[in-house]
């Protein structure tokens, strides 16, 4: 792999170097010239191509594979099957920790879902491996698959999401509903959705004895490393993973799935480097998805439009062999000040790949239904949807009674509404038309996402030449880690960003934690910040204890680091450059480590969430039912903004996902076979450029002293929440038709227009 050479943008695009500055992407030049190296771009000498064969049945057993036919194809080197494969050190069915999910490593002939890997063909060319996989022509013993939200007996899962209780309540919901003057009882459905990162999952593997070198996109370098180590029985320090760029992740590249493990096994089997890349259709199965849900919301309100009760129940699915439960109803914990709230989940098992985290897991599915139901209730109360939300504004977290660490949602409502022109909205639906006669609707939704923190470590150094180094195994999946974390590093080291060598994206660096939960900038940033402070303290020690230094006697507390110099706090005329300090001390560099971690005491005391308000305008053809979003404004308060340019892009992206949730995305499963009938990008619709109108993003200033040292809340996922509901509500406002099945399809509108 060529040495990573991150270059700052051309000088005229630069606006500064530290936190809060809208720097352009430091990896920009690599990405616009095609030089950024994604996993599948690697090609070690002697490399072979591995192609997975997947099951076309959803439940049963593979009874035969025509291995001979595949091997006869010119160029095919070997075929890996349950009968012919390297042994793993442990059974992949064993869940060694809560973040291990069961995978298919050809350890059985059993088929548990359609598109399950059942064999791997390894060949000299991609063409030969691909055709070899087709020639396997598997035969099956087929059992009737379990499909859909009513596939079998439902049960209450032990936990939903990551360790959340399946049921929560505060106050008496039934009493609240009984006393209500207005009631809503509405059932909504959301479909299975697939991450569909533009970059298919890929791995390039080289074994050198018991040393293993891996190129693969991962949102969790150290989790992947630990999983590989235990599966293959090798020490952590024998494994090197490179993941400098992910072509999108969205949760699908967070935890080690089966396909990369198969790549590592294949390379071991043939004794040569191997590249294995999933075909697009193979991404609909073994690499996670967002589970479908059916959600019932019962809401009560008094005569003044104050909520009396909120009951949110979600039915979801997991696979027949593992447990992940979309925590959809939990979305009702934080937003609206109902005196009585109950959330509950149940589930059925179906023949599907195990659902997993997908951008705002639980928040996305729960938000679109909650925001729709709140909209229904506002209408039932005869109130403007914003006024209704303000009337039920939660001053403390409704489910727990804890104060918020910070909450600038009111400002989001105000600024978003003002920018959108919400005050001109007519209360009644189907009242607005444009010049061409299209129906116009305005809808809104509240956005929220928890401000999470994981654990991370960073290493900082200052070198003799006055430059800095910051090392952390962080992940850039497009959110801008190469840039935003380098900005935090520059601040931490008191240097311009161009004077900092920022290293990330490989497994030999300190653990940055997983890039998920919108927590990566906060978590890795906190570690970087702390490492920076620690190394500056060491440097200051050198200076202030040396009587030849102008800083002698200042003490650690008495200097600040700025522009590559330590400066005496009480007398800025006395300063010394980093290189002068190190030169005099005769050391090549000073280094230090720092950590980032959640603060349990603060978490106990405060509810920590980012918030936002999204306003959407749609146009609907009054006879044909086709819908187009024409305008969206999102105002978000997410604590400190490290890089406004990248934050805006993240929020735009999230808002597009919200729109896509409301109008486009849906995996269609054949109810007889359990196969996904649109496992491609032609018929699984994600928005194209023409679907995306001018968007407006406002970041509302918010200072949060409690979430973490830097006051960062994270913006990766919040954009989808609120937006999905805003678009759905706008469709109702345009048409007067309330569609409770998502995505909203033409036929549902057509019959009622």
């Amino acid at each position: 792999m060529p040495e990573l050479n991150l270059t700052s943008a051309p000088a005229h695009l630069r606006h500064g170097s530290n936190i809060g500055q809208p720097l352009t992407r430091r990896d920009g030049i690599l990405k616009v010239t095609g030089q950024a190296t994604y996993a599948a771009d690697n090609h070690p000498p002697g490399m072979l191509f591995a192609v997975i064969a997947v099951s076309s049945i959803a439940r049963g057993r593979v009874t035969s594979l025509n291995v001979a036919a595949a091997k006869r194809h010119p160029g095919v080197v070997d075929v890996m099957t349950p009968d012919h494969k390297p042994q793993l050190a442990i059974d992949p069915e064993i869940k060694t920790n809560p973040f291990v999910f069961r995978m298919e490593a050809l350890h059985s002939n059993e088929v548990r879902y359609a598109n399950q890997p059942i064999a791997v063909v390894i060949a000299e060319t991609l063409e030969a491996a691909t055709e070899g996989a087709a020639l396997l022509a598997p035969r099956y013993e087929t059992l009737p698959p379990l499909v859909g939200l009513d596939a079998g007996e439902s049960f209450v899962p032990p936990v939903v999401g990551v360790g959340n209780p399946a049921e929560n309540h505060r106050g008496d919901v039934e009493a609240g509903l009984a006393s209500a003057e207005k009631r809503i009882d509405a059932t909504y459905e959301t479909p299975p959705q697939y991450h569909n990162a533009m970059e298919p999952h890929a791995i390039v593997v080289q074994w050198d004895g018991d040393r293993l070198s891996v190129d693969m996109p991962t949102q969790g370098l150290m989790l992947s490393l630990a999983r590989i180590a235990e599966l293959f029985g090798i020490a952590h320090d024998k494994i090197h993973i490179r993941s400098p760029f992910l072509g999108g992740g969205f949760g699908s590249k967070g935890l080690m799935g089966g396909p990369p493990v198969l790549g590592i096994m294949a390379a071991k089997l043939v004794g040569k480097p191997v590249k294995l890349v999933l075909r697009r259709e193979q991404m609909y199965g073994p690499v996670g998805h967002r589970a479908p849900t059916r959600q019932r919301l019962r809401i009560g309100a008094d005569g003044e439009g104050r909520l009396t009760a909120l009951d949110h129940h979600a039915r979801t699915v997991s696979s027949t062999f593992d447990d992940f439960y979309e925590p959809a109803a939990d979305a009702s914990h934080t937003l609206y000040a109902a005196p009585a709230i109950r959330t509950s989940h149940d589930a059925v098992r179906v023949n599907t790949g195990t659902p997993l985290f997908m951008r705002a897991p639980g928040e996305a599915t729960g938000s679109i239904t909650l925001e729709s139901a709140i909209d229904e209730m506002a209408w039932a109360c005869g109130m403007d949807p914003l006024a209704f939300r303000l009337k039920n504004y939660a001053e403390v977290e409704p489910m727990t009674g804890r104060p918020f660490s910070s909450k600038a949602l009111r400002a989001c409502y105000e600024q978003g509404a003002a920018r959108f022109g919400w005050a001109k909205r007519l209360l009644q639906p189907r009242q607005m038309r444009d010049d061409a006669g299209l129906l116009v609707g305005w809808g809104m939704g509240t956005a929220t996402f928890p401000a999470l923190m994981f654990q991370a470590e960073a290493r900082a150094a200052i070198r003799r030449d006055g430059s800095g180094v910051m090392e952390i195994g962080a992940h850039d999946m497009g959110q801008g880690a190469w840039t935003a974390l380098a900005q935090i590093a520059a601040d931490g080291l008191g240097l311009d960003v161009d004077r900092v060598e920022f290293k990330a994206g490989t497994s030999d660096l300190p653990d940055a934690g997983i890039a998920g939960g919108s927590a990566h900038t906060a978590t890795a940033g906190a570690a970087i910040h702390s490492a920076g402070a620690a190394v500056i303290a060491r440097l200051a020690d050198l200076a202030t204890n040396d009587e030849r230094s102008p800083l002698f006697g200042a003490g650690n507390a008495g200097v600040i680091a700025r522009d590559g110099r330590l400066i005496r706090r009480d007398d800025e005329s006395r300063s010394e450059s980093y290189s002068e300090i190190l030169a005099r001390a005769g050391v090549a560099e000073v280094e230090a480590r720092g950590t980032g971690a959640p603060n349990p005491a603060a978490m106990e005391e405060y509810a920590m969430h980012a918030h936002g308000a999204v306003f959407a305008e749609v146009k609907v053809d009054p006879e044909l039912g086709q819908v187009r979003v024409t305008r969206m404004v999102g105002a978000f308060a997410a604590g400190r903004i490290v890089n406004p340019r990248m934050v805006q892009s993240q929020l735009f992206g999230g808002m597009i996902w919200g729109m896509s949730f409301a109008l486009h995305e849906e995996a269609i499963t054949d109810r007889r076979s359990g196969r996904i009938m649109n496992a491609n990008l032609g018929e699984y619709h994600i928005p194209v450029n023409a679907d995306v109108p001018p968007f407006d993003v406002i970041t509302v200033e918010e200072h949060d002293p409690h979430v973490n040292a830097l006051g960062i809340k994270g913006v990766g996922e919040i954009g989808i929440t609120g937006s999905a509901g805003a678009v759905a509500n706008a469709v109702w406002h345009a048409t007067g038709v309330r569609v409770r099945r998502f995505p909203i399809r033409i036929e549902e509108l057509l019959t009622q227009l």
């Binding site: 010239t33 950024a36 892009s649």
Partner: protein
């Protein structure tokens, strides 16, 4: 059966023997010529990540057999910049943050360059959106992409005017 073919790739003539007629232009570039800037997102003409210019026109290289394009003139993302001098579209993508993960970006840029050569959009953002709709971006960088294209188009129009003046 081996087939001798010759292509001009980013200005340089390449003659080689193709041992397999199944090889697409995309796989030829990526796996045999090691020009990996062009990306494979779907391999079925449904995402645009593999967009290249063939004889000046943007196409999906995943749905083009290399052997059928014997003699073609190919431009990929690797051939767009002049040394360190970025193409105006490339610079504009950075300036307007027209990407996040960057995986669709080579295809977006090649598509934008192809679109400008087609000359159908002018400075109408709606036409640009429509004509860039063959390039999916899952991160959702569409707004930056449209701004970048319009900006680059404006810059190129201006410099063309200066040149002709």
């Amino acid at each position: 059966m081996n087939h001798s073919i010759s292509l001009t790739v980013n200005g340089a003539r390449r003659d080689f023997v193709l041992d397999d007629p199944r090889v697409t232009l995309l796989d030829l570039l990526r796996e045999r010529l090691h020009l990996t800037g062009t990306k494979k997102g779907c391999d079925r003409g449904q995402c645009g990540a593999c967009t290249i210019l063939v004889d000046g026109k943007r196409i999906n290289s995943c749905l083009a057999l290399a052997i059928s394009h014997d003699g073609a003139d190919i431009l990929t993302i690797e051939g767009v910049a002049r040394g360190d001098q970025l193409h105006p579209v490339q610079a504009a993508f950075i300036a307007h943050d027209g990407f996040q993960c960057g995986f669709c970006t080579p295809g977006q840029i090649m598509s934008a360059i192809g679109m400008m050569r087609e000359g159908q959009t002018g400075n109408d953002p709606e036409r640009v959106r429509e004509c860039m709709s063959g390039n999916l971006c899952r991160c959702g960088a569409y707004a930056g992409i449209v701004d970048a294209v319009l900006d680059a188009q404006g810059q190129m129009d201006e410099s063309n005017q200066r040149r002709s003046a």
